[in-house]
Symmetry: C2
Subunit: 626 residues, 2 copies
Amino acid sequence: MSIRTSIATVSLSGSLETKMTAIAEAGFDGFEVFEPDLVSSPQRPKEIAARAADLGLTIDLYQPFRDVDSTNPDTFARNLIRADRKFDVMEELGCDLLLVCSSPLPTAVRDDGQLAEQLHTVAERAQERGIRLAYEALAWGAHINTYRHAWQIVADVDHPALGTCLDSFHILSRGDDPSGIRDIDGDKIFFLQLADAPHLVMDVLQWSRHHRCFPGQGNFDLGAFGAHVVASGYDGPWSLEIFNDVFRHSATGRTAADAHRSLLYLQEQVGRYPHATDQLFDPPPPGPIENIVSVRLASGPVRAPEVAWTLGHLGFEMTAAHSTHGLQLFSHGPLAVAVDTTVDTLWTAPGVPAHLPAVAQIGVRSGDPGEWLTRAHALGVPAQAVGMPGTDTDLAEVVRMSVTDATSLDLRSRSSVQSWLEAFDLVPRASAPPSSPFLTDVDHIALAVPADSWDGIMLLLRSVLGMTPHEGQDVVDAVGLVRSQALTLTTATGVIRLSLNMVPGRVSDTDPLPAARRGGVSHVAFGTHDAIAAAESMVARGFLPLQISPNYYDDLAARFDVPGDVLATLQRLGILYDANGSGGEFFHFFTPTVGDDLFFEVVQRVGDYAGYGETNSAVRLAAQLR
Amino acid sequence: MSIRTSIATVSLSGSLETKMTAIAEAGFDGFEVFEPDLVSSPQRPKEIAARAADLGLTIDLYQPFRDVDSTNPDTFARNLIRADRKFDVMEELGCDLLLVCSSPLPTAVRDDGQLAEQLHTVAERAQERGIRLAYEALAWGAHINTYRHAWQIVADVDHPALGTCLDSFHILSRGDDPSGIRDIDGDKIFFLQLADAPHLVMDVLQWSRHHRCFPGQGNFDLGAFGAHVVASGYDGPWSLEIFNDVFRHSATGRTAADAHRSLLYLQEQVGRYPHATDQLFDPPPPGPIENIVSVRLASGPVRAPEVAWTLGHLGFEMTAAHSTHGLQLFSHGPLAVAVDTTVDTLWTAPGVPAHLPAVAQIGVRSGDPGEWLTRAHALGVPAQAVGMPGTDTDLAEVVRMSVTDATSLDLRSRSSVQSWLEAFDLVPRASAPPSSPFLTDVDHIALAVPADSWDGIMLLLRSVLGMTPHEGQDVVDAVGLVRSQALTLTTATGVIRLSLNMVPGRVSDTDPLPAARRGGVSHVAFGTHDAIAAAESMVARGFLPLQISPNYYDDLAARFDVPGDVLATLQRLGILYDANGSGGEFFHFFTPTVGDDLFFEVVQRVGDYAGYGETNSAVRLAAQLR
């Protein structure tokens, strides 16, 4: 037996029919009917009930019933009539549980005894109709705004038709301690609603109505929360109730799939706590993972020479070409970059314009890619075991999953990396052998992500791969604002760092977003032990450093104690600088954009510097735009 | 002599060069250099100074200098060096005023005496360099966060090189009483920064950094604020410092023009207070204005039959056609709707795709359009006196100004309305004369507005026309969220109501926004004395009411005491209902969308109902999408 999963229809976009279909396809057991969805639907409650049954879905909750209590007796009497009408609808729906929210109105009852009395009256009427009420504390309720207070009232009323509903948002957004949930009689928890949310300092009602997200997409500790719920003995559905502006107009099916995955991920998190129930979903653990060993860029034929030219500046040399697939292999010490000179249908989703050049694949070495395949499938991620075109690689040795519409992540066994390289034909060296390599590894890869894919990608990277998100940043520059989010995974051989940059939405047809922003810019950052030496080597190869404003170096001189001769060198080579106040330093420089959508960075980390030089973004972009 | 106008470069999008050019073209006298703009600029400070001089602009302020004070003596010593470096830059810029913000850091000095001492030290060094410091309280400053406290410290230091800077955002966002500004010695107010903001309940720092707007675009009472500043004797520049995510990537020139207009508008507001100085800009007052007398729709040839068909349902009859211009005139009692069956180049801005059909012109009767022309020009709005094509109308009798890229507002004299009508050729009646008219007036017109035009349009309607904005609404429906804002103007003959609906931005290339949302939907709402009779008349003309969900009427029965037979009639005719709790009622119904971008509404207002039935939007859209 496993935990039943459910979702409120408000969490998804579209008509009620569209939502029900997507909910069933995503694998949920049931759903909550959000009243406005029913009120807008051409289907009568009985038809909705029949459709749900056809889809194999239970209708777990009807919601919300607001403001039932009132200090005005006439209003309360009117509310009882209103409740009767809703009981009629629920009867037709075949749903026996109604969500009752605490009232935020000035007329809310503020006396516990009177409130218990009114709730008792409603519970009596509900019971006559075979209906139960789940009473929930809204975080902004006038009198009842904590789960403890709501539970206390429910206990006072002590009526079989009245229980409580727990909602993680209402509890955690207030900073309340959820451990008291353990003390609630699990049989009297009639329903459980789950929502995550990013840390935002704003009015809790606005936060709740616009910025909730699925577990694993925000910053709440829902693993601990769920463990408390398990400890209470609750055995009803785990249901998602998400109000999110982006989800409201995102593709329904994709959002539903993310939603279901988030509940699986949450159960895995809860399972790490002692005494977790064996009803929890327990996916196969993450497989072994090492570091990024290859990057595949899609250039298309037009941009291929420009990509090759820039890689040449970075000390890469084209060492091989694929006989049949238009792939060119560039090497630099241990680093391998493949360039697709054709548009590869493997990586472009239907209908998505290819912003070229782009990062098409990120290759990460794994001791056992097959373990990742099992885990991904258990979490509902459509990962595939694939062979490299034209190689005899065992299918189980490369496991591919889509990160964005344009980029896939390949987990590769050591032998698959080898046979991949061997599938290329060596080309005669075009020039003298490269001098000793000055790039050491892939420090990070930044991917441009559209707003409506953002939360799904965060969930994928966190749930399947176990990456850790860091504090998000809003980076302001001359032409706008980019939301940026780094995720890291510490492996046996180092740190894998990915950074997501939200592609700014176009606010109108005439929005003058510069070309370098339209598709969102991705970049690949290579690590070096010595940024100055690396830049000198690149200049020797013909690289023209970005022209960084001399005013920037005057400002560095005002902010940091960097010696004047070092500053002069940094300025000559277009190297930017940051420091973290605890001895950590960061030296980094950039290539111009290749096409509109890709550039390269070279970074040197000193000491414990863990950032990405975000403070220099505006200066970098200004130089690239010139 | 008039007040000098200024603007911080952070308020605009683009490079520093782009900003300076736009600032000069918009008519400002000077500007504040926002340090990150200088740091990103390829121009050295001396070049910037020369360019500003060429443009006729003064550099009024260099900003910001942060966190000057510190409880750590080493840090304070380092800050003095940092200040020296900035004085170097200012010397080259030829700018003698530096903005110094109160510190929000844990290391901020929290003893007034010590703080005064440190500021005195900095002021001494500044004075040696011929530089003055304007000390400002940030609303989130650790110790100094009110203008009174900042002023008290400045008075304590009593140094000629130290004054205070007032910023309306930092003062009004805290709910502080600005009247104390009158008690400050005007000579010690070294600078004035102005920003408006919408009412938002959120963290003040986030509010400040992302949601400021120009005076007349938000909810602060800046007229009263400015009157206090005038009373203090301050005679420096009035400068705009706006941090706004949309402005950050909007067209620089248009934002700068709006910015300058906002300062003119603000001065007019301030001028209404007693004892205002004669330095204030004082534009010609609004002219006479009556009601909306005509609407011109652009249908294009393809949609013309569908528009005509829908107008026919609404009881309009095509009574005339223009001999040469492809205009068809539809009449219903006092109402005149002209339909452009060609795409009229008058109303499409270059590069803006025409979403047809659209509201191309709104005709409002005025006793003297010429007065409006004078006022519009004084406020920098490019209004035009135009003749109707093919008529001999005196140019001064029709004054046109653009509201959105697609819609203009025409102020028309009575005789111009008459001659406009006479320019049409009567067509033979196609049917029996219409029965008695059931529509009385244009109740409101809702226009779709892109996000980056929103604030500019708000400012236009408020400044030139004197319209009053009402509380904004976020309307949630099945496929997203629409920001909606009503503005009204009470005239001699009634109320002119316009409603702006923000066109949702596309969050990605694959964003599945339905067709009915892509260009944003506009609509024209006609008033009636009896919505049921109007709907019956329309059904008699072949109108098929929208199929509203029966569940909606069940919900009405639960929420309101509407008699069952009335509900049945409303349901049969697809009429929606709302009530305001004080006896006011609202009956309204809709046509299907004509094309994707336009529909019509018929509304009946009862009692003091002043809204627009926003609560029914989701039900309306669901029915229209089916």
